[in-house]
Symmetry: D4
Subunit: 217 residues, 8 copies
Amino acid sequence: TRRGVPEAILAEGKTAAEVGALAATAVETTGRALVTRADDERRAAVRAAMAEDHPDADVTVDERSRLVVVHGPAFEAPELDATVGLVSAGTSDAVPLGEADAVATEMGARTERVEDVGVASIARLLDRVDDLRACDVVVVAAGREGALPTVVAGLLDAPVIGLPVSTGYGHGGNGEAAMLGILQSCTVLSAVNVDAGFVAGAQAGLIARRIGAARGE
Amino acid sequence: TRRGVPEAILAEGKTAAEVGALAATAVETTGRALVTRADDERRAAVRAAMAEDHPDADVTVDERSRLVVVHGPAFEAPELDATVGLVSAGTSDAVPLGEADAVATEMGARTERVEDVGVASIARLLDRVDDLRACDVVVVAAGREGALPTVVAGLLDAPVIGLPVSTGYGHGGNGEAAMLGILQSCTVLSAVNVDAGFVAGAQAGLIARRIGAARGE
Amino acid sequence: TRRGVPEAILAEGKTAAEVGALAATAVETTGRALVTRADDERRAAVRAAMAEDHPDADVTVDERSRLVVVHGPAFEAPELDATVGLVSAGTSDAVPLGEADAVATEMGARTERVEDVGVASIARLLDRVDDLRACDVVVVAAGREGALPTVVAGLLDAPVIGLPVSTGYGHGGNGEAAMLGILQSCTVLSAVNVDAGFVAGAQAGLIARRIGAARGE
Amino acid sequence: TRRGVPEAILAEGKTAAEVGALAATAVETTGRALVTRADDERRAAVRAAMAEDHPDADVTVDERSRLVVVHGPAFEAPELDATVGLVSAGTSDAVPLGEADAVATEMGARTERVEDVGVASIARLLDRVDDLRACDVVVVAAGREGALPTVVAGLLDAPVIGLPVSTGYGHGGNGEAAMLGILQSCTVLSAVNVDAGFVAGAQAGLIARRIGAARGE
Amino acid sequence: TRRGVPEAILAEGKTAAEVGALAATAVETTGRALVTRADDERRAAVRAAMAEDHPDADVTVDERSRLVVVHGPAFEAPELDATVGLVSAGTSDAVPLGEADAVATEMGARTERVEDVGVASIARLLDRVDDLRACDVVVVAAGREGALPTVVAGLLDAPVIGLPVSTGYGHGGNGEAAMLGILQSCTVLSAVNVDAGFVAGAQAGLIARRIGAARGE
Amino acid sequence: TRRGVPEAILAEGKTAAEVGALAATAVETTGRALVTRADDERRAAVRAAMAEDHPDADVTVDERSRLVVVHGPAFEAPELDATVGLVSAGTSDAVPLGEADAVATEMGARTERVEDVGVASIARLLDRVDDLRACDVVVVAAGREGALPTVVAGLLDAPVIGLPVSTGYGHGGNGEAAMLGILQSCTVLSAVNVDAGFVAGAQAGLIARRIGAARGE
Amino acid sequence: TRRGVPEAILAEGKTAAEVGALAATAVETTGRALVTRADDERRAAVRAAMAEDHPDADVTVDERSRLVVVHGPAFEAPELDATVGLVSAGTSDAVPLGEADAVATEMGARTERVEDVGVASIARLLDRVDDLRACDVVVVAAGREGALPTVVAGLLDAPVIGLPVSTGYGHGGNGEAAMLGILQSCTVLSAVNVDAGFVAGAQAGLIARRIGAARGE
Amino acid sequence: TRRGVPEAILAEGKTAAEVGALAATAVETTGRALVTRADDERRAAVRAAMAEDHPDADVTVDERSRLVVVHGPAFEAPELDATVGLVSAGTSDAVPLGEADAVATEMGARTERVEDVGVASIARLLDRVDDLRACDVVVVAAGREGALPTVVAGLLDAPVIGLPVSTGYGHGGNGEAAMLGILQSCTVLSAVNVDAGFVAGAQAGLIARRIGAARGE
Ligand SMILES: Nc1ncnc2c1ncn2[C@@H]1O[C@H](COP(=O)(O)O)[C@@H](O)[C@H]1O
Ligand SMILES: Nc1ncnc2c1ncn2[C@@H]1O[C@H](COP(=O)(O)O)[C@@H](O)[C@H]1O
Ligand SMILES: Nc1ncnc2c1ncn2[C@@H]1O[C@H](COP(=O)(O)O)[C@@H](O)[C@H]1O
Ligand SMILES: Nc1ncnc2c1ncn2[C@@H]1O[C@H](COP(=O)(O)O)[C@@H](O)[C@H]1O
Ligand SMILES: [Mg+2]
Ligand SMILES: [Mg+2]
Ligand SMILES: [Mg+2]
Ligand SMILES: [Mg+2]
Ligand SMILES: [Mg+2]
Ligand SMILES: [Mg+2]
Ligand SMILES: [Mg+2]
Ligand SMILES: [Mg+2]
C-alpha cells in the first residue's frame, strides 16, 4: 500500500481465476484487497478464493458499485480525522462514486454522500450545501454535460475534485463533454480521468490524510 | 430577407472595400444592412460607403459587439409582440450575444439582456429569474465549461437555445467544451455552433415571430 | 413533468427489472410513463409491471421506434393548438423521429409526418412543401451527409430543428457528418445531438406550447 | 506534364523569388506554367520572371482565383471534345473552383460554370439543371455543410466530383463538415480533399480526356 | 435504378426478414437486386424470398465478398464498351473490391482484377502495369497505410479512384490512415469513404458509361 | 476574492486599456490585483494605471512568468502554515509554474521551487526528493511527454497535481500528450488543463489553506 | 521471409480454418510459421493443421502472449551475435512484448527480458540498469501514460524503440496517451504503433542483424 | 552530450538573445553547438555571440535547413565506421532531412543523401536503390500521404526510420496522414514525430554508433 492508498485490482479485462488469485495475494501481502469493476462471476471468484485461502477474512460486496472489499483477520483499519464529501447527480454516477467512497474509506477518512442533486433542479443542491460545507475535500461526479463540479465549487471553500462519468451518447458522449467541462471550469477545480473513481477517491484520501495529520500535530 | 431574417454580411475574411460595397447593395435591395465581426477599418468602410451612396441612411455602430446596422431612409422596421431573452456569464460573451440581440431586434422582437450571471456565483443568476420568466424564448451564451444554458433551462418554461462561445484554452478550449456540454445537456435545449450569435438570434427571432403572429390571430 | 416535458426513461443501459420499476413509479407520480430505446425484453417488463401495479393503465407500444407510452387511468392528456412537423429521408431515421413524435404528442401538440423525402430525389420533397408550410415548428431528421434540414429550412418560414441520425460508416459515420453539417448549415437552424429524438421533440413541444398559449391569449 | 496534367506551382509557402524561378523553369521544360494560390507579390514575381526570361510568353492573371497561367510562345494548347461542369454556391468557393477551371481548361476541356446555386434556395439550382445535363463530368464545390454535391448528383447522369471548401467556423468549420458530408453522401460521388481545386479539376480533366478520346475513336 | 446504378440493399443493420423482403421488392420494381454485406443468415433469407416470390430468378452468391446478385427472368443486363480496373494489395481488401466489381459489372462494364500487388513488393505491381494500362478507369483498394492508389496513379493515364479499406489497428487504424493518405496523395486521385466499395464501383461505372457512350457516338 | 483565491486578470485577449482598468478596479475592491499572461505593453498599462489611481500601491513584475502582482497600501497578506512544492523539468515550464507560485503565494502559502529535474536525467530528480518530502502538496509541471508528475508522485506521500505545459510539436504537441499522460498516470494524481498554472496554484492553495487551518486548530 | 523477418500470420479477424491453412503454407514455403493474436480455437487449428500436414514439425505455443511458433523439420534457425532487450512495466504489456520477443528470437537474436519495472517505483528499474546496458538495442513496452521508454532511454547508450500498449481507459486510453508520449519524448527514441509488438521486435531484429554482421566482419 | 547525441538548441520560440547565449554556453561546456530552426535573425545572433565569446570557433550555416553548427577550437569530431542513408521525395522535406543529416554527421556517421525520389515516379527511386543498399540504417522523410518509407523499406535489408513532414493541407494535412501512414506501414519501420528530423538523425546515429563499434571490435 503506497502512500496509504490500497492496491486495487481492476477486475475488468482479467479472467475470474486471475482476479481471485490476485485478491488472495493482496490479502496475504497487505492485509486487505479492493476489487473494482467486478461482475457477478468475478465477485464469486473472490468469495471462493477467500473461502479457500482466507476463511477468516471479512468480505464485503457492493453490487451497485461493482466492488468487493476484503479485510484479512489481522488487518487494522486506519483512521483519519477528516471528511471526504461525495456528490452526484443521479443513479448513473453510482459506480465511480462508489469506488471513490470505498477508497477514501479504506484510507480511513469519514465520507459524506450527497446524491441526486443534478443542476437541472438547482434547488435540491442548495438544500444540501450545509452538509457539504462540513467536508474537508469534495469529489463531485458528473456525467452528461458535467456542470455539477463547477456549480459545487462555486458554493464551497474546500478543494473540489471533478470526476467525469461516461454517460451520454452522440457528440461528447461517454464522458467526453464532462471531462472537457471540468478542465474548462470557470471555478478552481482539479480533475481525474473519465470513470476514474478510484483515483478521485485516493487523491481525496491523500488530501484528507494530510489534513488529519495536521489536526493531530 | 428570407424568413424575415436580415441578410448579414460577415466582415471577417473580406476586404474593407468588399464589405462597404456589400453593405451598400444590401441597403439598396433590402432597405437595410447588418454587418458582423467588423473591425475599425471595416466599420469605417461601411460608414464611407453610406456617406457616398446612402447619405440619408441611419448608421448604428456597436463597437463592443463589432456590429454595424444600417437602415435606409425608406426602411420600415418590423414589430413583433414577443420577447427574446439574452443571457451571458460575462464580458467575453459580449460579441456573439450582441449579434444575437441585433438580429432578434432587426426581426422586430423585444429583447431583454441578463448579463454577468455565471454559474460560479449561482445567487446572481437566481436574482434574475423573474426577468427571464417574462421571456418567450431565451438565448444563453456559454464559454469555458458551458454550464449556464443547462442551469437556465432548468429554471424556465420557455424554449432555450444554447450559444457556445469560443473562450477557454487547452483541452476543450475555443468553445469545444461549451459546444459539447450544450449538446449533452441533462435539460431540454437546442444548440447552435460556436460563436454563431447570428444563428441563435435568428432562430429565436423565428420562434418569436411565430408566437407574435399567434398573439395577433 | 418539468416544463410539460414528460419524464422519459431511457431503457438502454438499464436492466429490464429497473425499467419496469421506473415505469411504475412514473405512472404513480406523474400519471404516465414514456420509455425510449426499449428492446423486446424491456418492453415486456413494462407490460408486466403495469399488469401487476396499474392494471387499468393504457399501454401503447411502438416497435419500430422502440417506444412504450403508458397512461394511467386518471391521466388527462394536455392539448395544444399548434402543429409540429416531422421530416425524414427514409426508414433508418425511424427511431429518433418516432421518439420526437411521441414526446411532442405527449406534450399535446398535433404532429404531421413527412417521410421518404431524401435530398437525392429533390422532387419528392418539393411535392410535400405545402404540408410542411402548415406546421408551426419542424423537426428534420438527417442521417449520412445530413443535408435535408438545410434544404427544408430554405423552403419554410417556421423554425426548424435539425436532428442528426447515427447512420453512415467510415469517416463522418455514426451521425458525425450529419451533426457537423447541421451546425454548419447555410440556413438558420438549431440542432440537437445525434439520435436525440427525445430532445428534438421536447424542444419542438416547448415552442408549440408557447405558440398554442399565444393563440389562446 | 504527367497524364496531360500541367505541373502546378503552389505559391503558398514559397518565397516570391522561388515562385518566379520555378515558373520560368516550367515554361522552359513544359512550355507553360500554372501558379496557384499566388498573392500580389508572388503574381508580380511571375510577371517579372517572364519579362526577363520569356518576354514573348502569354501571361494571364486571375486575381479572384489567385492564379497565373503562362503559355510560352511555342506552346500548343491541347483540345478535348468533352465538357467539364463547374458548380458552386457562392463567392467563397471562387478560389478552388477557379483552380479546377484553370486545370481542366489547360488540359483542353471545355468548361461550363454554374454559380450562385446554393441549396438554401433550391429553385435557382433547378433553373440551371439543363446546362449541367450537357456536361460530361461535373465538379461541385461545397463549403459550410457541403450539401450541394449530393443534391446535384441526384439530378444528373454524369459522374460528379465533390470539392469541399474551407469556409465555416466553429465545429466542422474549415471545410471539415463539407468533406465528411461528401464522403457520406447518399448519392454516388467521389471526393477530393478540402480546397483541392487543382486535384478536382485534374481528375475531371482525366475523365474528359478519356471521353474525348472515345469520341474520336 | 438511378443513373444506371442498381439500388443496393445494405444488409448490415437490417433483419434477415427485412433484407429478404427488400430484395423481393427490388426484383419486382427494377428487375434485379444487389445485396451487400450479407452474412449467412441474410444470404439464406434472400434465397428463400426468391424461392417463394421469384422462382425463375437467377441468384448468384459471392461468399468472399458477402454479396448476393439476383436477376429476374425479364432482366436485360446492360452492356458498356469500357473496362473498369480493380486493384488490391491482398485478401483483406476482398470485400470492398468485390462490391466495386459487382456494381460495375451490373452497370454493364467489363472488369479486370489485379490482386496481390501491395507496395511492399513493388516488382509484383510493375509486372501487371500493362494489364492496367488497358483499363478506362481504375479503382484501387488500400488498407493499412494506403500507399497503393498513389503508386498506381503514378503509372497510369486513366483516372484512378482510391478506395480505403478498414484494415490496420492502433493509430490510424480502421482505414483512417488509408483515407487520409488518399486525400493527401501527391498524384491526381479522387476518393470514396472507407469500405465504400459500392460507391467506388458505381462512380467507376458512371465514368465507364460516359466513355462507352462516347465510343458508340 | 472567492475561497481566498485572488481574482486574476487574464491579460491575453484583452486590450492594454482594459487590463489597466481591470487592475485598478481589483485593487479598489479586493485590495490587490494579479495579472497573468501580460506582455510588455500590458505590463506597462498596469504600471501606468497604478501610477495614476493607486500611487502608493506595491507593484511587482515577473517578466519571465509574464505576471504583475499589485498590493494596495492597505492590503494585508494572508499567511498559511503549509508549504506548496513546485516542480518543473526546465525553462519552458516557467510561465505556468510561475503563475502557480504567484497564486499560492498570494493565498499565503510558503512555496518551494524544484526546477530542472526532467525525467531524462533521473538522478537530478532523486537528489531533490528530500526537499519535496517537506511539502504538503506538490504541483508538477510537465511539457512534452508529461512523465514527470507520475515519477514524482511515485516518490512522495503528499497529494500531487499535474500541470501539463503546451510544449512539443507534431502529434500530441501543444501539451496534448502531457495532458493525456497525466490523466492516464499509473500513480494517483489529479490534473488541471494545459497551461492552467493559475488553477493548479489555486487548487494547491486551497489544500494548503485547509492543512494550515488544521495545524492551527 | 523478407529481410530475415519471418512472415507472421495475424490470427485476429481470420477464421480458424484460414489460420490453419496459412500456417501450413508458411511452413511449406519458408520452413516455419509465426502466428500472432491467436485464441484457443485458432491455436488448436494450427496444431491440427500441423498434425495433418507437417507431423514432424516442432510446435511451440505461448498462451500468455497468444502466439504459436512452428519450425518445420528442415528449418535451420538463424543465429545473430547481438542482444535485444525487452522491458515492460507489468503483466498487461505481456502480449505485445511476447510478440516482440518471438520475432527477435526467430530472427536469431539473443533476448533479455526486464519486467515489472514501471516508473511508479523507480528503484526497481534502477536495479536492472546493468542488465539493460548489456543489450545492443532495447524495446520498451508502455501502457497508460507511457513514461517508461523515456526514462529507460535516459539511462542507456543503445537505441531504444518505444512500443505503446493499449491499456488505460477514458481520455488517452487504449494506448493513445502512451503513443503520443513516446512521439513527444524528451529523449531520443523511435516508435511503433499501439500494440505493434511484431513490428517493434522485427525492427530491433533488423538492427541486431546489422550489428551482428558487423561483429562478424 | 548524452549518448554521443549533441545537445541541440531549438531556436523557434526563443528570442535571438537567448539563442546566442545558449549557443555560447554549449560551446563552452560541450565543445560545440547545434542550433535548429533558426531564422535570419537567430542565425545572426549565433554568429555575433561567437564573434564575441569564441572568435576561433568554426561556424557553419545551412540556410536551406535553417541550421547552424559551431565547433569550438578544441572540439574533436567523432568518427564512426557506418553510413546513414537520408531519403526524400522533394524540396519540402529539406528542413527535417537536413536536421537528420546534421545530427548524424555530428555523431560521426557518414551520410548519403538520395533526394527527389517521390513515389509518384517510382522509376527514379528504383535507379537509386544500389546507393541505398550500401547504407547501414536509412531515414526516409515523407510529406503528404507518406508512402515513401513503406516503399523504401520494401526494397532494403537495413532498418528504416520513417520521418513524417508537415506538408499537405486539408484533411490529414500538416504531416498527419504521413505520420499515420508510417505507423500503419505494411513493411517493418519505426517512426519519429512530425518534422522531428533531429530525433530521426539521432536515432540513426545511435544505431550507426553501435554498428561502427561492432565493426571495430
Ligand atoms: N432517448 C432519449 N434521448 C435523450 N434523453 C433521454 C432519452 N430518454 C430519456 N432521456 C432523458 O434522460 C433522463 C433520464 O436519465 P437517467 O436518469 O439516466 O435515466 C430523462 O429525464 C430524460 O430527460
Ligand atoms: N455497401 C454499401 N456501401 C455504401 N452504400 C451502399 C452500400 N450498399 C447499399 N448502399 C447504398 O445505400 C442505400 C440504401 O440505404 P438504406 O435506405 O439504409 O437501405 C442504397 O440506395 C445504396 O445507394
Ligand atoms: N492564467 C489563467 N489561467 C486560467 N484562468 C485564469 C488565468 N488568469 C485568470 N484566470 C481566471 O479567469 C477569470 C477571468 O476571466 P475573464 O472574465 O475572462 O477575465 C478569473 O476570475 C480567474 O479565475
Ligand atoms: N501482431 C501483428 N502486428 C502487426 N503486424 C502483424 C502482426 N502479425 C502479422 N503481422 C503482419 O501482417 C502481415 C499479414 O497480414 P495479412 O495479409 O492480413 O495476414 C504479415 O506479413 C506481417 O507482416
Ligand atoms: Mg451532470
Ligand atoms: Mg459559463
Ligand atoms: Mg439525409
Ligand atoms: Mg430551437
Ligand atoms: Mg496498402
Ligand atoms: Mg472520380
Ligand atoms: Mg487535487
Ligand atoms: Mg529504430
